[in-house]
């Protein structure tokens, strides 16, 4: 992702965090790789949360298909103190929100929907942008991440 787009995504995440009063929010790709983080996510094991949330999301897809859905668009894991809201942004990314009793599921849902739309538009625009070598802050897709890895000499 281009630095400018990464900054725009960060702004949306910060706004979502403030509006919904979440503890942390993380934009991840479908493989569980973190693309952007906002909030007190440093207090959590973001790498593990991102990987497990992506896994939980993909594991419910067969269940969704049994109901005639391609996938579920929102998953909510509700705990006694901390809860997790997981929602799709587009075919390549997922928005996570970690929140506690200071807010409500309804509040997080309302603002997550809005943030997802905005981030989805930014990512769609980013994918159509002409690529300039060295200008990317983070990969926009898992394919980009894989292609960015150094290749073994054959």
């Amino acid at each position: 992702m281009h630095e400018v787009d990464a900054a725009r995504v960060q702004t949306v995440l910060e706004r979502f965090l403030a509006d919904a009063s979440c503890a942390a929010t993380v934009l991840i790709d479908r493989g569980g790789e973190s693309l952007a983080v906002a909030g007190t996510a440093r207090a959590f094991d973001v790498v593990s949360i991102a990987a497990l949330a992506a896994g939980a999301f993909s594991s419910t897809a067969p269940l969704a298909r049994l109901l005639g859905e391609r996938e579920f668009s929102v998953l909510i894991h509700e705990g006694v103190k901390e809860s997790l809201h997981v929602s799709t942004v587009d075919d390549g990314s997922i928005l996570l929100a970690i929140f506690d009793e200071r807010t409500t599921v309804g509040m997080v849902r309302v603002f997550a929907r809005e943030a997802s739309k905005k981030i989805g538009a930014i990512l769609a625009e980013a994918r159509t942008r002409p690529r300039r070598p060295g200008a990317d802050a983070t990969p926009a897709t898992p394919e980009e991440a894989r292609s960015a890895l150094p290749r073994r000499p054959s």
């Binding site: 009063s21 309804g106 309302v110 929907r113």
Partner: protein, 142 residues
């Protein structure tokens, strides 16, 4: 345009969530109002200020169901939407109003000034809608 509505339209504060929570809290300042909540159209509670004796989630689910039914009925009658509905019983009343992101619900005692509450509900709806509308007036949250 009222001063509060103008303020809301200029609102770019740190948290719209806190803003709508404050709006819901404002209802408790009205005489004979027992509680108020903002409910998403699918029944999830967005913000609530109700006494402990009231079960919030069943109330939210019922209010959302009523709101959706009223909107469907309004459409069947050829109206674009309903604004405020009031349900009264011997021990009090409930106001339900459509507010874009969901429904404003106010619980009141039987002796409550219904006109004052209806007016406050209308103002709250306008403030919520203004807070969700971008400055250029384009589409808001779905």
């Amino acid at each position: 345009m009222t001063p509060r509505l103008k303020l809301a339209m200029e609102h770019d504060g740190p948290s719209r969530g806190r803003y709508v929570r404050d709006l819901v809290q404002q209802f408790l300042k009205l005489r004979s109002v027992r509680g108020a909540l903002l409910v998403a159209s699918d029944g999830f509670v967005i913000a609530a200020e109700v006494p402990d004796s009231v079960s919030v989630e069943p109330l939210a689910a019922m209010a959302a169901r009523l709101g959706r039914e009223l909107e469907a009925s309004a459409a069947r009658m050829g109206h674009t939407s309903f604004s405020t509905a009031m349900f009264s019983a011997e021990d009090g009343g409930m106001f339900v109003a459509a507010a874009g992101i969901g429904y404003v619900v106010v619980l009141a005692d039987p002796q409550a000034n219904q006109e004052a509450i209806r007016s406050a509900v209308e103002e709250a709806v306008a403030l919520i809608q203004a807070a969700w509308s971008p400055p250029d007036g384009t589409a808001s949250v779905g």
